[in-house]
């Protein structure tokens, strides 16, 4: 090994604490880049491959009932590659051993075997016999959650008849990667299952012989989806179409899409922050090293090392930090990726996972880390290369302090001499001071930004479950029912209170804006499912009016008093003009609310409801479940208490873990910045401080001079960090808000206090670590060392 390489390794070994403090920050960037980019490519590739292999459709549409011959017309549309018509419907299942009501989504299988589109992957067993009326295939996760084996049976409420069904196989499907039951917020495989049944049996059960109510279309590459959707709508509108939509509105795909978008954001926003901080730290430390090694650099040049060799020597010293960081980052990143893959396996149902992180992702993150340290060290290394060998032989000239306005101001303030020393050095290196402050501010913001989730979700839960949706359960029917169903349900066991609600899919339009949503209509004065205005009071929508959620109003660009056109989908396609009489801050979905009687009169229909909200007596809930399975036309019961619990549990788990991760990251940044800052201060001022000690200053006074600057900068960083954190939180709230959720920005003062607590504590601890060094320093040897 060459002597210069030995010097490199020994210097690195001597600097290991500072190097490690930087490497940990850099490692965060590497790990997040690796995880984010790795998972992003893995998830999108897996999805792409799955969709490709199993021919996931491009356009979907649900109709009331359309004759089979329309399939030919749909297939004839220019640009349509394949058409699959099906009969589908929801129903309540009676699963042996499962006391809760289970909802099944029934899909018909074509008579000639496997479907052409949305092809299910057989996991175990076989497809049902096409002629059988009792054989079914279910989704594998449903079977697992309910402990089903092949040949097991359960019963389903089909068209008013209870039918015993036998499981012949289990499968997975590209349509149900993310499987969520009606009214649920989280997937729950125990209470929601997909049931594939031969077409004749389904047609008989739902009275759909010679007809279909669900179409999937695959398009040829490069055609306009919009044009085809319009054509499909034109063909199917007479048959009670709810409107064709693309993959972007497909419930399963849009969830995966949101996840993929989040990964992409994670991979593109966070790592640059870590790389930036690391580069700053590297440049600060390397700058100091070059200062200290001036005479060594001069020597190297004097004995014949070239500028390039000297430059490379220091770039490699910084490069070693990257090597350590990459080692740690890859280790942690690999672990994080496995953790995330585990999470995905829990929520997403893929038949295969391409979850190995590809070598190029490793390469990209490694190169990024190396570039970071190289960039950080470049200035110092160039300075080293530029040092004239002769000049490098002389000790560095003392830094030039100039009398400035600031000095005059300080003189007027009659500050103590140590304070003046602190302030002077602060202004002497303004860029360094500013970047240190910024680094610490970023640490503060790292804790602040994600903390708001906790409070925001509390607010969401509170508003959604305790203010608006106070019902214990929702009973959902296959189609609208007469009002009389209210008295039927009131007579069920456990039911204390019943309220009817009508749901109607609509497209709302205002000017060029339009949005597909569901109108929820109820009677004035309802108590279980309420519309709550900004003052917290329950709101009744007057006849002729509509109340929109703020997000929906924003989408449509309308305010109170404006008019919107509502096209009622399904059945008769009618458009009615409604006046916006109010907007409400609601965090789930894009709701629109109307008066039930008014909707009925508008559509010239007898009074009817789509679902019944009930409050329940907990003691008798099991009896209720036992009875529900026998009620005709009931397709699903949504237990709000379960929804509430699973939502809160999931959120608490992931938020707790997330906050912990961010606190650790913030601590790493803080230690990286303050420890290195304080070490450099110590190295720059060792002689000066030793002189002061010899002159009779106490340890405490000397420490004050040394660390006053670092601690002052940490304090200055707090308000800046709060501000940056709030901005990031705002951006995050916006990016997390979708048509599914509206994330409120709740910046509780405790968030800021907690962030500052952790960052100041870590700053103080780092400074104390350096102070121990100062205390151990031998005054005589410090004075002897030649700068």
């Amino acid at each position: 090994m060459q002597a210069l390489d030995r010097k490199l390794l020994r210097d690195f070994a001597r600097l290991w604490k500072q190097a490690l403090a930087i490497a940990l920050v850099l490692a965060c960037g590497v790990a997040i880049l690796l995880t984010g980019l790795g998972m992003y490519t893995a998830l999108s590739e897996t999805r792409e491959t799955y969709y490709e292999r199993n021919r996931f459709a491009d356009v979907f549409v649900t109709v009331n009932r359309a004759p089979e011959r329309l399939a030919v017309e749909l297939a004839a549309i220019d640009g349509v590659w394949a058409v699959e018509t099906r009969t589908t419907g929801n129903t309540v299942l009676d699963v042996p051993g499962n006391p809760r009501s289970v909802t099944g989504r029934i899909l018909s299988l074509p008579i000639d075997g496997t479907p052409r589109l949305n092809v299910p992957v057989l996991t175990t067993g076989r497809l049902p016999d096409p002629t059988s009326t009792t054989e079914v295939m279910v989704n594998a996760n449903f079977a697992i959650a309910n402990g089903f084996a092949l040949g097991d049976t359960f019963s389903a409420n089909l068209n008013g008849q209870k039918r015993q069904l036998t499981i012949t196989g289990t499968a997975q499907s590209p349509e149900f990667i993310y499987t969520i039951g009606p009214g649920a917020l989280m997937p729950d495989n125990a209470t929601f299952g997909i049931i594939w049944m031969p077409q004749p049996a389904v047609a008989a059960a739902f009275d759909m012989t010679g007809a279909f109510n669900d179409v999937s279309l695959k398009l040829t590459a490069g055609v306009s989806r919009m044009a085809i959707i319009a054509e499909v709508d034109r063909l199917l509108d007479p048959y009670g179409s709810l409107g064709a939509y693309g993959r972007d509105l497909h419930p399963s795909d849009s969830f995966i899409d949101a996840e993929i978008a989040q990964l992409r954001n994670m991979a593109s926003i966070l790592p640059p922050i870590f790389f930036g901080i690391s580069a700053f730290l590297v440049s600060m430390v390397m700058g100091r090293i070059i200062m200290l090694e001036r005479s060594q650099i001069g020597l190297l040049k004097a004995v014949g090392y070239s500028n390039l060799e000297v430059c490379l020597h220091y770039l490699m010293l910084a490069g070693l930090i990257a090597v350590v960081a990459v080692g740690i980052g890859w280790g942690v990143g690999g672990w994080l990726a496995r953790l995330l893959a585990g999470q995905y396996a829990q929520y997403f149902d893929f038949p295969f996972l391409i979850f190995r992180t590809s070598p190029w992702v490793y390469a990209v993150s490694g190169i990024a880390a190396l570039l970071t340290t190289t960039l950080g060290a470049t200035q110092a290394a160039i300075k080293a290369a530029r040092l004239a060998p002769a000049i490098a032989m002389q000790p560095p000239a003392p830094p030039k302090f100039k009398r400035s306005l600031i000095d005059r101001a300080m003189a007027n303030m009659r500050l103590s001499q140590p304070t003046v020393m602190i302030l002077r050095s602060l202004f002497r290196w303004p860029v360094r001071s500013a970047l240190t402050t910024l680094g610490l501010a970023l640490a503060v913001s790292t804790i602040v930004a994600p903390s708001f989730f906790d409070y925001a979700l509390d607010k969401i839960v509170d508003s959604a479950f305790y203010e608006s949706n106070r019902q214990d359960a929702m009973l959902v029917f296959s189609h609208d029912m007469p009002q009389s169903v209210l008295s039927t349900t009131a007579a069920l066991p456990a039911v204390l209170q019943t309220e009817g609600q009508q749901f109607h899919p609509v497209i709302l339009r205002s000017g060029i804006h339009e949005k597909r949503t569901t109108i929820q209509a109820s009677h004035p004065g309802t108590d279980l499912s309420r519309v709550i205005d900004s003052t917290g009071a329950a709101l009744d929508v007057p006849p002729g009016g509509v109340v929109l959620t703020e997000r929906l109003a924003m989408h449509l660009d309308v305010g109170i008093g404006d008019r919107v056109a509502a096209e009622f989908l399904g059945g008769r396609k009618e458009t009615h003009i409604l006046t916006v009489t109010g907007t409400i801050a609601q965090y789930f979905g894009l709701g629109a609310y109307m008066d039930l009687d008014y909707v009925n009169s508008l559509l010239r229909q007898s009074s009817r409801i789509s679902l019944v909200n009930v409050s329940l007596d907990d003691a008798e809930v099991l009896d209720l479940h036992a009875r529900l399975k026998d009620i005709p036309n009931l397709v699903s019961i949504v237990m709000m208490s379960d929804t509430r619990r699973s939502f809160s549990d999931t959120i608490e788990q992931s938020i707790g873990a997330m906050n912990l991760v961010y606190i650790i990251i913030a601590l790493l940044i803080t230690v990286g910045v303050t420890y290195n800052g304080a070490r450099i201060q110590l190295s720059e001022r060792a002689r000066e401080l030793a002189s002061l000690r010899i002159l009779g200053f106490t340890r405490a006074e000397v420490s004050y001079i040394l660390f006053g600057e670092t601690l002052l900068l940490s304090l200055l960083a707090q308000p800046l960090g709060w501000w940056i954190g709030a901005q990031i939180a705002n951006a995050m709230a916006n990016s997390f808000s979708s048509d599914l959720y509206n994330m409120p920005l709740v910046l509780h003062p405790a968030i800021f206090a907690r962030a500052s607590f952790f960052v100041l504590l870590a700053s103080f601890a780092s400074v104390m670590l350096v102070r121990r060094r100062l205390d151990k320093q031998n005054l005589v040897s410090v004075m002897k060392v030649r700068e």
Partner: protein, 261 residues
């Protein structure tokens, strides 16, 4: 004559065979030549004339001592001769090569191949042992001697694996000399090599320099503030205000051990 006797004594004391010294006493071949060299630092009002026109010749195998008050330009000249710095005007030759306008890269090669430096404050790399400090140079020179041999030349065989912080000033300076001679340089440029040492340690170091000069015929330039040291030189060059004020040839040279200060 005396010098030769002393050198023989010294080498025998170290148990080594005497190598013939190349013309230590009869100097003829010119190694360095400068012509009206000036060096100006700074601009305008703050201009400092570190060198104000220096004409000098240095001969192969000689020991030249540069004397002069602080700030008279000794180090500046040495730096220019050694290719560490460029002159502001004038010309400098190393044998047939003109150094004056050589680019950085060529100067680096010149230093690497021909020049050994010894500095007042040793300038050892603290994170390298004595042996490794010498290897730093042997790694890049075309025809070096083994680091161990160089350290043996300065009597440090048993301190080879010590770090600079574990050695005395004199030992450190001897490591620096070993480092300078390990490349078998034609020229050894020493800027106050004894400046930081007490007199007996200083004498040791000078003995080593003289020994090297005797045995390898290395042209040696020594800057010093110590007028006594001039008595070991072949020639003494006196500096004053950036100019050479006198050049004296010593007829009688003293061995370093006979110097007292």
């Amino acid at each position: 004559m005396l010098v030769n006797v002393f050198a023989r004594m010294l080498c025998q004391a170290h148990g080594r065979a005497m190598e013939p010294a190349k013309g230590a006493t009869h100097v003829a071949e010119i190694v360095f030549r400068t012509q009206d060299v000036t060096k100006v630092y700074g601009t305008g009002e703050a201009r400092i004339y570190a060198l104000g026109g220096v004409d000098l010749e240095l001969f192969a195998g000689e020991i030249a001592v540069l004397l002069g008050p602080s700030g008279s330009g000794k180090s500046t000249l040495l730096n220019i001769l050694g290719g560490l710095d460029h002159a502001t005007s004038g010309r400098v030759w190393f044998r047939d090569t003109e150094l004056t306008d050589l680019p950085d890269r060529a100067l680096t090669k010149f230093r690497r191949d021909h020049v050994g430096f010894v500095f007042q404050f040793y300038n050892l790399v603290p994170s390298l042992t004595a042996r490794e400090n010498v290897q730093l140079v042997t790694d890049v020179s075309p025809d070096p001697m083994p680091a161990e041999e160089a350290l043996a030349q300065v009597g440090l065989t048993d301190r080879m694996d010590h770090f600079p912080s574990e050695m005395s000033g004199g030992e450190q300076q001897r490591v620096a000399i070993a480092r300078a001679i390990a490349k078998r340089p034609e020229i050894l440029l020493c800027d106050e090599p004894t400046g930081a040492l007490d007199s007996s340690t200083g004498v040791q170091v000078l003995e080593v320099l003289q020994d090297i000069n005797e045995r390898f015929g290395t042209t040696t330039v020594i800057i010093t503030h110590n007028a006594d040291i001039q008595r070991m030189a072949h020639r003494v060059i006196q500096f004053q205000d950036g100019k050479i004020s006198s050049v004296v040839i010593n007829d009688e040279r003293l061995a370093p051990s006979e110097l007292v200060w």
